[in-house]
């Protein structure tokens, strides 16, 4: 052995030692040195939607834990799908490390997702799905299951009130194009096969439309129960029924947990509401994003679950925070 090669061996061994020491440390401390940028493309940002506020809170909590940088973009209202497509394409140009998308339409966002994929940006879908197969993970409520919960409860209510005949049920949906609406409706229909569903009306996420349609339908048909498929539809229906003085007479089962819905639930206008876990949805989607960015495997589908809330369990401690989220503290 020559002297020089001995020196060489020392250096190499020292290098290995260095790497070893660093790795021992790294193994215990996952690396978060550079803050990854995660872009969240929401369905709606301006319209006061309690649901999305809570999703954001969950996301921010997870981002704080994993030291990720979050930015939120999206159209002001949920109907503006074209604007969402445009904003997403603009967002891709900023080259974030990952995009979390709540799709406003099944088909229209397939192209932007493909564009992101070309750029090497992974996409995680939350809440409502698309026809694209490219996203690495889908974090959402199992909406068919949620629909079944709503339908089943409506069935139980109807069997108590009118045990001798099948009930006549109206469905107020929020959109023709959003998967949540489609899946919930199919779940509701599956659970209410014994009853007569006289039809589905679409309010296009407009409270006023839902209100007007409900009054119109109630004046035309004899209705035993109404199911609203999201927050806006449910509130539109409940307002109409309440204004007509039929609160508690025509049972309503809705979705989501706006403060007004809670009041209706307490006062008996609303029989029950199926709530998702928006906090968990936001938290889990960002956790999945962080895992992906650390090179760990992510689950392709995560069901964040749903709960049927009635007057009886609405103030139980374990549901309180779900139904009445903490307000945002100043300075946070």
């Amino acid at each position: 052995m020559k002297r020089s090669s001995w020196f060489f061996i020392s250096i190499i061994t020292a290098g290995l030692l260095y790497i070893l020491l660093l790795n021992v440390g790294l193994y215990r401390n996952p690396d978060h040195r550079q803050e990854h940028h995660v872009m969240v493309v929401l369905k709606a940002t301006v319209q006061p939607m309690d649901f999305w506020d809570v999703v954001k809170t969950g996301m921010e909590e997870a981002a704080r834990e994993h030291t990720l940088q979050l930015s939120f973009i999206g159209p002001p209202h949920e109907q503006m799908v074209d604007l969402q497509v445009e904003l997403m394409l603009e967002g891709i140009e900023q080259e974030p490390d990952l995009i979390i998308l709540a799709a406003g339409d099944v088909d229209l966002l397939v192209d932007p997702i493909a564009r992101a994929h070309e750029k090497g940006i992974a996409v995680i879908i939350i809440d409502s799905g698309t026809a694209s197969s490219l996203p690495i993970s889908f974090v959402a409520t199992d909406n068919i299951e949620a629909g079944i919960r709503a339908g089943t409860y409506m069935g139980q209510v109807l069997e108590q009130r009118i045990p001798d005949r099948p009930g006549r049920i109206m469905i107020m949906s929020h959109s023709r194009g959003i998967t949540t609406a489609i899946e919930r409706e199919s779940g509701v229909r599956r659970a209410l096969e014994k009853h007569e569903i006289i039809g589905t009306w679409y309010c296009d996420i407009d409270h006023q439309v839902a209100y007007d349609l409900t009054r119109e339908v109630l004046s035309m048909y004899h209705i035993d129960g109404i199911i609203g498929l999201n927050e806006v539809s449910t509130l539109g229906v409940a307002d109409a029924v309440s204004d007509l003085g039929l609160g508690g007479v025509i049972p309503i089962v809705g979705f989501d947990h706006a403060a007004q819905e809670m009041a209706y639930l307490e006062s008996g206008v609303l029989e029950a509401t199926v709530v998702q876990r928006p906090y968990n949805m936001g938290y889990i989607s960002v956790t999945q994003a962080a895992r992906h960015l650390q090179g760990k495997p992510v689950k392709p589908v995560v069901n964040t679950g749903s709960k049927l809330i009635t007057r009886e369990n609405m103030f139980e401690p374990k549901y309180q925070e779900l139904l009445f989220p903490f307000e945002k503290l100043n300075g946070l």
Partner: protein
Amino acid sequence: MIRRFFSFFSTLESRTYYIFTLLILMTILSTQLISYNYTQRSLIDVTNTQKGYTMERLAYQIDTYMTTMEQIAHTVIDSDEIQQYFTRSGQNDSVDGDAVSQYLASFLRAREDITTIALFGFDGTRITSSSDQQVSPFSHVEQQQWYQNAVHNPGRTIISSAHVQNLFFGIYPWVVSMSMTFHDQITDEPLGVLLVDLNFNRIRELSQPVMQDPPEYIFILDSHGDYVFHPQQQLVYSGITTEPTESLMEMTDRSDPLEVSGKSYITRQAQSADWRIVCVTELYGSMGQWRYIQAAYATIGLIAFIVVGLVANLLSRSITHPIKELCAVMKSVDRHNFNITAEIDSTVEIQQLADEFNIMVRKIRGLIDQIHHEQELKRKSELKALQAQINPHFLYNTLDSIIWMSEMDRNREVVLMTSALARLFRISISKGREIITVREELLHVESYLTIQKMRYRDHFSYSIEVDESLHAYPCLKIILQPLVENAIYHGLKTVEYKGLIKISGFIQDDRIILQVIDNGVGMDPLLLERLISDSSARKQLRSSSGVGLHNVHERLRLYFGEPYGLTCSCTPGERTVISVIMPATPPMEEDL
């Protein structure tokens, strides 16, 4: 592979190097790991201690807060307005409900963190701080936890967990409810239940984590281990996040931090509300200081290792290099070079080794020289013995001739021969010297020739033709006589004609060349050559004369060295020339 490894490991240098390096590597690694862990531990301890103080302050703040609220509650129930309103409300309308309401609302104005103050009389009287709002028909006050706890523990202050208050329809604030029964100050008869709702955000604000790095959060448990508040309430209730609440309930303020799945838990008790405040820290979160410490440790380790590698290398070399040098010196001894000494600048041990080696080599060299010297002496004495051998033989014959001539009364010849013999011997002895002059040598050979010529009755004649200038040069004694003897016995003794011996001499290229030429039968040149150079050849000849030639040759070699000696050229039947080649050293002083 294994053999290669072992051969790689077989030198002292590599062994020292690797063992040193390995040992020091292990030392460095273990010290690094130990001190790294120690640093980590002590940092965590420091953090925990700091956290403990923060937590104590938080518990103290909550206690103070609750005590203040309790004082407010007591102020309310002991006030004249309330006492009058509830003791006389049944019979007397003199106390205005609105005024009492205003009185309660004044506390809300003073303290923003009080959401509601309400009093529920057992007689069904209700009064709240908001005069414009009716208590919700759906609120079922009597079934609420805070109400029942107050009724079952009269006189005690009950503090609820954080919950959603549904006292007023459509308004669902998060509050902590403080409730207690209130009594008639005079009769001590229980009158109803007081409710003070505290804005929960106040407590959440207090519970905000102080530090962002390492990430931490604070949650609060009630005396049953249920959550008063958790920043991730939904994750906790849906089982995504779990906290070791049972173990936490067993902890006291003095307990060591509980460490579960990479998180460190510290608890402090808030006595007033019987709450347990828990601070959770991620033990090995993305902490900048850890990264820094790691990098520092790794760098120190790297530098230490490089230095150690170099030092180990130098050390192993400093041990083995002198040994290698010594080896090289020893190898040259192997090649019969004894004229060396090992000059090695090294440690005492190696120096001693080198010194001993030097002594050994010196001794060997001395011994070898001694052997050389002894060998030379031995050879010289051998040659002298041989030289001496000739003489008695010749003397015997000569003396025989003298006796014979005396008997014949040839006195003149007897005188001639005897004087020649005397001269011969005088020169032969020459006071024991080996070197004489050419002149003396010629005199010696001439005496010999004179004797022989008389003995052989002029069977041959001779002539000496050596230049005068040569006479002063030194010459090895008795070198010509054996050649002449050889010429007579092998060349002339047997010929019928009259033989001739000629001695000539000259200088050629710093050499003195003396030639003995005869015209006898001559000898086989090869045999002659062998007679000169090979001492064993004389045995074949079975004669002492061969000894003479070889003896001369050997002596010349011995005295003057390699290129000198005898040469011969011979034409059989015509003549034989034997030449003596000697160095022409300057003439020396004649002291004879």
